[in-house]
Amino acid sequence: MRELTYTQAAIEAIAEEMRRDPKIFYMTTDPIAPLLAEFGHQRMRTTPIAEAATTGMAIGAAGCGYRPIVDWRQVTFSFVAMDQIVNQAAKIHYMFGGQATFPILYRAAVGGGTQLAAQHSQSPYSMFMNLAGLKMFLPSTPYDLKGLLKTAIRDNNPVISFESNRLMTRMGPVPEEDYTIPLGQADVKRAGTDITVVALAWLVHEALAAAEELAKEGISVEVVDPRTLVPLDTDTIRSSVHKTGRLVIADEAGPTAGFSAEVAAVVTEDATTFARLQAPVRRVCALQVPIPYSPVLENHVFPDRIRIVAAIREVLEASGRGEAALAEI
């Protein structure tokens, strides 16, 4: 199968959907060259740097029958449009009694590893997850990003596509033929029996590397990528933990009230899944600090495969399946 980068897969998804539906148009401060070349200035609109305006204008245009895409670029810039996101987009369908639909795609790059320092390295998706009325996803592969973007553009609600800064140039197989991926469907990236690692975006790849390393020791790691944050595929997460009895959650965001906390709650508040747990749930997250610039500092703040391996060993140890127990196998 041919390979595309994460970025190319996104552009291809948007181009295909814009060809399919003339009601789709795109607003951003710096237009994407191939989309501008194909669709022109009317549908690939260059806006002033005025995110509050464009984020809100998308709501109005959507309520009038269009399907706008607003590209905030870095998620950081969405923060100047918070009224439009929190008070308007998330609530407008509900507070007006469902009388109109608001199909909008917002795009935002998240995460660090790019030495962009505190403002442009954030992973604030749990802030948005906390609002009722927004759907959102954060894929780990070009294939998943393309399929989810196409579904999101066709969805009749505001959807946020969080896209990982670290993965922009990463290649992956993407078929030529048309496909979509449903929102709310996790993907088991590697099947295993001893422990479940629920991971997002770049950390899916780190978890897969950790699993590969531990496989040499006879430890079987299952890697679950939720892909969609809202709605979250709780069934797949719970059934994986039900099978393995152990859980590590890896997230590039900090732990406090984060995605990782939500997954921990989803697993532990379900009686049958909880009953299968053989050890406390362990989270592998960024340190709870603003993201620093110098690579030495940045690398210290973010989790990676080494910390995932360590966490897996700790959970196995706590459940009585540590080095000693494994040596007997």
């Binding site: 005025a50 509050a52 984020t55 809100g56 998308a58 109005g60 369908h93 009388q99 009749n156």
Partner: protein, 326 residues
Amino acid sequence: MTSISANLPPDKQREMLRRMLTIRRFEERASADYHAGKIFGVVHCYIGEEAVAVGVCSALDDGDRIISTHRGHGHCIAKGADLNRMVAELYGRQTGYCKGKGGSMHIADFEIGMLGANGIVAGGIAIVTGAGLAAQMDGKAGVAVSFFGDGASNAGPFHECLNIAATWKLPMIYVCENNMWAAQTPAAATHALSDVAARAAGYGIPGLTVDGNDVFAVYQAAHAAVERARSGGGPTLIECKTYRWRAHTERRGLPDPRDRAEVEAWQQRDPIGLLERRLREQGELDVAGFHAIEAEVMRALETAVAFAETSPLPLPEQATEDVFAA
């Protein structure tokens, strides 16, 4: 302004009066019902500002779109909203515009191009500018109107949207209802310029200040702005100087720092009284005619109240419906 009113069909002038009177009586009833405990949360009355909503909306076609503010009942009625569903919404009933989920600050009727009241000052300006963009892309000469107050003209979205609308020549009319007070704060304390309309110059668009209590003056300005917008000329900023008679909200114990003499002076310039007097002077309305309009308004309002009172309350579990569209 007689030249303008002389050009309007008498029926249209009487319809303006009927709508303004409907707003006045609706708000009086909403205030009374709020204090009687039949309406919950908060109510912001539009009394005194009726000529703005009616003057502007009388210059629009059915397909044109508007957006409102937290003080939204007047804009709904001026655009032709159904009183039954409005009162039902205030009463928190299933039959209300928002099925009881919105209340006074979130009444909307997308069918008639009323894109909603909004609890955030300046919150609607960007949304309706998107409706203006939609109208431009539709290519059917539709226009969109943003109603907002003097307070909102100091907020970022006002400036961002005027710049975009001017740059893209969007078919927009920005109507600033300058009632001189942003909640408890006098406009003079927070505005560098006395006229909001002067800000239009910064965006290269026309800016007019009109007497917001004179429905014909408002209509004339709106009509010219609508013509300009429909023909591709881009946006206009219209500042309507007016005044709200009641406190910022109907909440009990809310301080009203305004000088009573100031309130009374504006009440002497009652927009409904001004219109009624002018119609009588023009010979287009007699006492009996006025009473007939008044009776029609009260009948419609009583019907709406009866509809709301006999409408079912929502079921508690309906609170989880309509979070997402299908």
